[in-house]
């Protein structure tokens, strides 16, 4: 019995170490999400369940830029993670296409929209999102193999009103 235990112990120890380090990395630096829905077409293809790499290091200091693709907890349902493009940061003035008006983003909030405006449920319906809900930044598509590549920072023209 003792001999079996001695033989198995290094394997068990290795698994535990691996698991603990894996959890820490997933919490602090990077993890992945599976993408569903057509709201971010053409950045992500809705035909297949694509997986994307999420960078979480930007959360420590909130290094986000306009045009980043971000992951955040839905303000409507806290169990759901949503992927959208960050359009405006706190203090920016933004032009809302449907309403023909200019709105200032309050402190500590940001404006998010899907690339596919027609099917996206985003800040245009629920307003600016608190920055505290952000959970990371999507940097790469990692699955399926033929779609592997960087996700670019892209900014729609003329949305931010310079003052």
């Amino acid at each position: 019995m003792a001999r079996i235990l001695a033989a198995v112990w290094p394997i068990v120890k290795g698994c535990i170490t691996g698991g603990v380090f894996g959890i820490t990395i997933a919490d602090w630096s990077a993890s992945y999400v599976t993408l569903h829905g057509a709201s971010m077409h053409p950045t992500f293809d809705p035909q297949q369940a694509e997986r994307a790499l999420v960078d979480k290091r930007c959360l420590h200091r909130y290094h986000f830029s306009r045009g980043d693709v971000v992951v955040f907890r839905s303000p409507r349902d806290h169990r759901e993670l949503v992927v959208k493009r960050l359009i405006a940061l706190p203090g920016d003035w933004i032009q809302i296409p449907e309403k023909q008006e200019i709105q200032q983003i309050p402190q500590g909030r940001c404006w998010v929209e899907g690339d596919n405006a027609a099917t996206s449920f985003d800040s245009r319906s629920y307003g600016p999102v608190p920055m505290g809900l952000l959970r990371g930044r999507v940097t790469h598509i990692i699955w399926p193999p033929h779609r592997i590549g960087r996700v670019d920072r892209k900014m729609p023209e003329g949305r931010i009103v310079p003052l």
Binding site: I23, W28, P75, P106, R109, G132, L133
Partner: protein, 166 residues
Amino acid sequence: MRTYSHLWSTTKRSAMAFVIGVSISDRWANFTWVTGESMYPTFTAANSFWGGDFVLAEKRCLEQCKFSHGDVILFKCPSNHKEMLVKRLIGLPGEKIQLPGSLNPTKIPEGHCWVEGDNSTRSWDSRAFGPIPLGLVQGRVTHIIWPPSRIGRLERKMHEGRISPD
């Protein structure tokens, strides 16, 4: 050579302990200082020598999203993501809440909750910034650890008559 291997095993152990500690504080429970007067008389130490209460906040409730009325919760401030606030949970999604100043009850939207401090005259809470998304909640305060005279469980306490029945 022996000191080297000794040093290596110590390093390995402390790295492991550090990583386990970080994971526990991220996922299960962590400690926080609570300062300010908004939660008086639940947290009383703000004006004392210590300058605040040291509390234990559990995070397991986040995964199952089990919150009840009267829980003391820890959440990120909706207008400043670097700041954490501690308040009492008053209303859950879908409920109607009676505000002291107005006649009509306010309905809390889906995925949001209503938080207020126990010391309503000195508290900056949902009455000022409205209902907050549940996604901002970071944990539930369960125990006071410091000051020693007040060590113990935190009770769930509900204000009567705030939630209007439909």
